[in-house]
Symmetry: C2
Subunit: 203 residues, 2 copies
Amino acid sequence: MPKIVDHEERREHFIDAAIDVVVREGFERLTMRQIATEAGYSHGAISRYFPDKQSLLAAAFLRLNQKVDERITENVGGLRGLAALESTCRAVLPYADRRNTARVIIAFWDRIPHYSDLREVWEQNSNRWRARFVQHLEEARDDDELHADIDVAVTVNEISARNMGWIMLTVLLPDEVSDDNLDRGLAALLDRIRTSTLATSGS
Amino acid sequence: MPKIVDHEERREHFIDAAIDVVVREGFERLTMRQIATEAGYSHGAISRYFPDKQSLLAAAFLRLNQKVDERITENVGGLRGLAALESTCRAVLPYADRRNTARVIIAFWDRIPHYSDLREVWEQNSNRWRARFVQHLEEARDDDELHADIDVAVTVNEISARNMGWIMLTVLLPDEVSDDNLDRGLAALLDRIRTSTLATSGS
């Protein structure tokens, strides 16, 4: 009987190997051969699943984003409004055990403007996450948790920017950012959305 | 009489050419030959000034940071406290006429963990900018502009993170961010530092 190959499993194996290589070596000198070696396969084996490096990297970026998505879904559970918003941010912020992933994520971000495969993954994911922020801010408004002057569209950008910025800052100044720092910044943000005039509408 | 070469000027010329190539093509496929062509010189001419690509890129990153520094100094003038902090952020945030630079800056950020030359430039610059934030927050405290509960160290990180994050967001979702959006976000931040409980100290 011929050996049965679980193609989905092998594909995932190559994706994991790609992420491991990027974590360890960065993107700059990344080759398909290196990823194949990491995975314990020949270069030919990997090219049956991914025709080129870009398609493999797009799959790896998608995988990383899916992991964040799963964490968000798990964290949010049945919550709504500002509690759900807080849980979503907690699933995204670069706490100490996610620093390797943070490094990889910013490498992908940098390449998004140049590669259409990555851009597609990014646009789908960021649209979905931003829709979550909008939803939870609107729930907060319905539940009278949200300050009356909050402009939802501006606040979605503020939250997105600071989540991305904390990921960047944690990678570039690792000694300056602690988990406690992330917690306190987030608590202060939520406090301001609730009680103050963050991103007031109008001029 | 031999032709007199202004070495400093030629060095600057190569740096500008490197930045132009990165803006147009990205980092990925950047070569010294390409930069030499852009500058209108031979590969040999450029290598007399920069022994390798990393040293040229570090010089280009330094140049970009110096431009931001000059803009900060010009904006801040004789201001102090929260007015100086606002002017500093305005010099850094990715307003529409700085979007090309924003793209280049994030490409450098991504490479900082991997290249010691870039890391050195980054550390010097970020230390200087963070020292400015600390100084202006302390002036604000001395002038009774700052909410009593503000923790300066946490707030410096919050400001750094959101400045970096807005740069990232503007590059990756250019259609979602407007200059007005940047202004309103910054105004709201300052409003919160002044009157609310951003980054309260203690648990």
